[in-house]
């Protein structure tokens, strides 16, 4: 128990990869064994994440070994490079760890019907979870980068092997885009390392001594572009619709639910702490991009005929709120932005799962190809309505709080921009309702008169998310309280730069 407590983050991070080796050792024809063990392996981090959650101190703020960061694990890794195996969580990463731990078992369940190469699939999936968890908890820049990239490889195969008809294209596009982003980041990492004295990869140290860095504008942009590709921020977003559409359901969920957050997480973790002055300078620029994302994503979503693509574009739109929020440098905006990261993770996961459910049954995702199926599949419809209404920011559901916070925060800084961003809510409502109408309402398309409603497994994946959507909408403190001190800290960092 002592060991578990002191190594919580390592355990959360590495249990999946250790488990993946077990999975690899199973005979390939024992598909169910593999599935169940994968499920168990992903549930362990979830439980540990809850332990983490329970033990998380909600009052400490800062970004150093003594303040703000908790559950620190630090071991020397490569002495000569001053690289450390340095993990810890603060208010910024904690919600993400929770989200990741939550989404992963759900995705395992959603992958239950994978038939081809089961072993490889779950092996890669578990690897992916390690990469994601690691990226969120790593506080050594180099370690962070390693995990960041470790996410890529399984993703490439998961999209490429188990994806849709254009999976090869989507996989390579995804990989190339993110690879471009990450090599740019890598250059900056190296630059920071060399510019710091003594040379270090320790994020807290880098943040503390950031005055040593030269070429700040270039570095900031390099980092920003690197992360923006992941978010994705216009105009680096074109990989996303392809990747989402082609990826298998569970992977779309992971992509939209967790991977996109990596980008904004990176911006907050790196750009904000290490180049606060530049961040302050570029705030308006970020806000403009955020607003473009919101509007552009929403308009593109409205045009889509493919349900999954629509959801993909809606992700672009929703991530725009995150950018706008964190660019506002107000407590409301930042909290809203980060909360939106969490909320979007939950909501979009739900949406993709729903798309997956219907795709499994109808084998197509054309929005116009359905119609009036609400009475045929009432439970499914209920969940779909819930998810779509959450997506359009209906008050009482979680997204509303984050979006409202973002707008409240952003309006204090950017009046016109925020007003423009608020029109996004109209467009979002329009496409969400239009989609619901075309799929669920209207005259029943007779082809789907015998459409089965959701199964037990699917319900198990969807209902927890639905509960979270509603609960956090009414009582957001469980997540909001985690991040507040950290957000204030980050915000002060930037605000003081401005003065």
């Amino acid at each position: 128990m002592e060991f578990i407590n002191s190594h919580l983050l390592s355990l959360i991070t590495f249990i999946p990869v250790i488990g993946s080796l077990f999975v690899l050792a199973f005979p390939r024809d024992k598909a169910n064994l593999i599935r169940w063990s994968a499920l168990v392996i992903t549930i362990i981090p979830l439980l540990l994440a809850l332990v983490l959650y329970a033990g998380f101190d909600r009052s400490t703020a800062g970004f150093s070994h003594t303040a703000g960061i908790q559950f620190i694990e630090k071991y020397t890794w490569i002495r000569d490079f001053n690289m450390n195996f340095f993990m810890g969580v603060d208010g910024l990463s904690m919600p993400m760890v929770l989200l990741c731990a939550l989404i992963c078992p759900i995705c395992i369940l959603a992958s239950w019907n994978v038939e081809r190469g089961v072993k490889g699939y779950f092996f890669l999936f578990l690897l992916l979870e390690t990469g994601m968890m690691g990226a969120f908890v790593a506080l050594d820049f180099f370690l962070f980068f390693i995990f960041w990239e470790v996410m890529l490889l399984p993703m490439y195969f998961l999209i490429g092997i188990w994806g849709g008809p254009r999976r090869e294209y989507a996989a390579i596009k995804f990989f190339i885009y993110t690879l471009v982003g990450s090599v740019i980041i890598l250059l900056v990492i190296i630059y920071f390392y060399l510019a710091s004295a003594p040379h270090t990869f320790d994020m807290t140290e880098l943040a503390k001594n950031n005055a040593l860095f030269g070429n700040r504008m270039i570095c900031w942009f390099a980092l920003f572009i690197g992360f923006a590709i992941k978010v994705p921020i216009f105009p680096f977003h074109t990989w996303l619709p392809d990747a989402h559409v082609e990826a298998p359901t569970a992977i779309s969920v992971i992509l939209a639910g967790i991977l996109l957050k990596m980008g904004t997480y990176g911006i907050l973790r790196i750009n904000y702490t290490m180049l606060p002055d530049m961040t302050a300078k570029m705030a308006t620029f970020m806000a403009v991009l955020g607003v473009i994302n919101i509007i552009y994503g929403a308009l593109c979503a409205m045009f889509q005929k493919d349900l999954k693509k629509l959801v993909a574009y809606s992700s672009i739109s929703h991530m725009g709120y995150v950018i706008l929020g964190i660019a506002s440098f107000t407590d409301e905006g930042l909290n809203g932005g980060i909360f939106q990261m969490f909320n979007h993770g939950v909501v979009t996961a739900m949406l993709f799962l729903l798309v997956g459910v219907i795709y499994d049954r109808a084998h197509h995702r054309e929005i116009d190809g359905f119609g009036g199926i609400a009475p045929i599949v009432p439970n499914y419809s209920f969940l779909a309505f819930l998810a779509f209404f959450a997506a359009l920011g209906l008050p009482g559901l979680n997204s509303f709080i984050s979006e409202a916070l973002v707008l409240l925060g952003a309006f204090q800084k950017y009046r016109i921009l925020t007003a423009v961003a608020a029109t996004g809510a109209i467009i979002t409502a329009a496409y969400c309702l239009w989609t619901l109408q075309r799929i669920f309402l209207g005259k029943l398309n007779e082809n789907y008169a015998l459409l089965p409603d959701i199964t037990m497994t699917e319900a198990v994946t969807l209902i927890p998310l639905g509960v979270i959507v509603v609960t956090l909408g009414i009582y957001p403190h469980p997540v909001l309280d985690l991040m507040k001190p950290t957000v204030s800290f980050l915000n002060n960092l930037i605000i003081h730069m401005k003065l």
């Binding site: 390939r28 890794w77 490569i78 002495r79 000569d80 490079f81 190469g117 490889g120 980068f145 390693i146 960041w148 990239e149 470790v150 890529l152 490889l153 490439y156 195969f157 490429g160 092997i161 999976r167 090869e168 996989a171 390579i172 990989f175 190339i176 690879l179 471009v180 090599v183 740019i184 890598l186 250059l187 190296i190 630059y191 390392y193 060399l194 510019a195």
Partner: protein, 504 residues
């Protein structure tokens, strides 16, 4: 140090020379009658292994920087480290030769094959330590000439002899050009010894023009050895035509030997000072810039040209050109960390490239094809296919430079050296990372066919047999090392730091 005293340091070389002659005698006596090929291969492995051990035994005193054989050779960490690398690559060549269908059954002259491999090993280890133009030339030619022969050795297809002739002609011309450069250098400095040359150059600041011309010409010869653009043209053709084990060797061992002479040549003659305060003959001869340009061209060319290759060996040839470009980047950084990172990268490259080639060899054994199309759906064929495809994928990802594989750490070292304070080669780093991305295109094509495609092409795979154990375990070992070094590389880091200590 005189010749006799120097022999103490050269036990490995002496043993190797003796062993070569022993092998010759054995082949005359036809001692292979009953045992066939295996005997000589085992003998070769034994010989190389003993050389390696002797080399290791000499490690203790390798740091003394002794000048051996009246200045012909230097005894330093750089020499030793590269000797290990080269001898190990010969060892791997022997193993690969035993494994590959191309080389393990068809020779009438296994003894000669092994003998030539040993000779080229000798050439490489002499290259690693030589610090005299003449010594350099002889050792270089020892490697080159034996390589020409080895390329054409497995004379089974037309390709093979074509490759050998091309290699010979191109190599002849390139070394001719280099010789001309040597002669000019000799003319300028009046000596063949590196140390003396440096003294002359640094004291007298001789004519930059002739020096520069000679350097360019010398670069042609050395660039030929490492297959740097524009001296690379032989590389794809020879790689494709040569027996695959030897191709692997060429791309790793021979290249490493090429790099050690470049490092020693440029740093010992044109550089002075210790690591922190390293200077170059910048005002007379801006060789770092020349190498930087060469590096940029090489990696870009290699990656671009690899994009549309259909033959895996050819593709790997271009990829190895690009990799040479990356390493040159470190040389261009003209710093001690640069040398360390070059060595580090070569070690990593050693593992991942040999890994890739071993996979190619095994797959070639199974499918009897080197065409990438035939790799289609490999992973779905059987457990063997899945294993091979995964291993190859690990190596290819590592070659791309993606964490957590060793190739990434190697690239990190290179970038670190290029971006170090005081260096003005930021643009080179940018080109390098762009190239990393480009390179993924063609690596991913192989991955795509092996993993993503749902069609099965090419021949079926055989059942796992006892004879497969060796290659598969070596394969797994290489892949494991690729991952291990991507996660923990401190020991190798220590070694590579030693590589740069020869600059005093």
């Amino acid at each position: 140090m005189n010749n006799l005293a120097s022999l103490n340091y050269f036990t490995a070389e002496i043993f190797l020379s003796g062993f070569i002659i022993l092998l010759l005698v054995m082949s005359f006596l036809r001692m292979d009658r009953d045992n066939g090929i295996g005997f000589y291969y085992l003998a070769g492995v034994f010989g190389i292994a003993v050389t390696l051990i002797l080399d290791l035994a000499g490690w203790g005193e390798s740091g003394d920087g002794a000048i051996l054989f009246y200045g012909m050779a230097r005894n330093d960490h750089l020499a030793h480290l590269f000797k290990f690398l080269c001898v190990l690559s010969s060892l791997i060549l022997m193993v690969f030769s035993m494994v590959s269908r191309e080389t393990n059954k068809r020779f009438d002259n296994p003894a000669e094959y092994v003998l030539l491999i040993l000779s080229s090993t000798l050439g490489m280890i002499l290259m690693a330590s030589s610090s005299n133009l003449l010594m350099l030339y002889i050792s270089l030619e020892l490697l080159s000439l034996t390589s020409y022969i080895l390329t054409g050795f497995a004379d089974r297809e037309e390709k093979t002899s074509e490759a050998a002739v091309k290699y010979l002609l191109y190599g002849g011309i390139a070394s001719g050009v280099m010789l001309y450069g040597f002669s000019l250098l000799y003319g300028v400095t009046g000596t063949l010894d590196y140390t003396a040359m440096r003294e002359v150059l640094w004291e007298h600041k001789v004519s930059g023009m002739v020096l520069s011309i000679s350097t360019i010409m010398i670069l042609a010869g050395m660039g030929f050895k490492i297959a740097a653009f524009p001296f690379h043209a032989w590389c794809p053709d020879v790689y494709e035509g040569a027996p695959t084990p030897f191709t692997a060797f060429l791309s790793v061992g021979s290249k490493a030997a090429g790099f050690v002479i470049i490092v020693r040549f440029f740093f010992q003659i044109f550089g002075a000072g210790d690591g922190g305060n390293f200077e170059i003959l910048g005002d007379i001869l801006d060789w770092p810039m020349a190498i930087a340009v060469l590096s940029a061209c090489t990696m870009t060319y290699g990656n671009m040209a690899a994009l549309q290759q259909r033959n895996i060996k050819r593709l790997l040839a271009y990829s190895s050109i690009a990799q040479a470009g990356y390493v040159l980047m470190a040389v261009a950084s003209r710093s001690q960390p640069g040398i360390s990172s070059a060595f580090f990268y070569l070690c990593v490259y050693f593992i991942m490239n040999f890994g890739a080639f071993l996979a190619v060899i095994i797959i070639n054994n199974e499918l009897n094809s080197e065409m990438i199309e035939d790799y289609e759906g490999l992973v779905w064929k059987s457990r063997k296919g899945a294993f091979l495809a995964s291993m190859l994928a690990i190596c290819l990802f590592s070659l791309t430079g993606v964490p957590p594989f060793a190739g990434f750490i190697g690239k990190l070292y290179l970038l670190l050296s290029v971006l170090a304070k005081g260096s003005s080669l930021y643009w080179l780093a940018v080109i390098a990372v762009i190239n990393t991305v480009i390179s993924f295109y063609y690596y991913s094509r192989i991955l795509r066919l092996m993993f993503l495609s749902r069609r099965l092409r090419g021949a079926d795979l055989s059942k796992l047999e006892k004879s497969d154990y060796l290659p598969y375990s070596v394969m797994a070992g290489l892949a494991f090392l690729t991952i291990l070094l991507g996660i923990y590389w401190e020991p190798l880091d220590g070694l590579s730091r030693l590589a740069a200590t020869f600059i005093k």
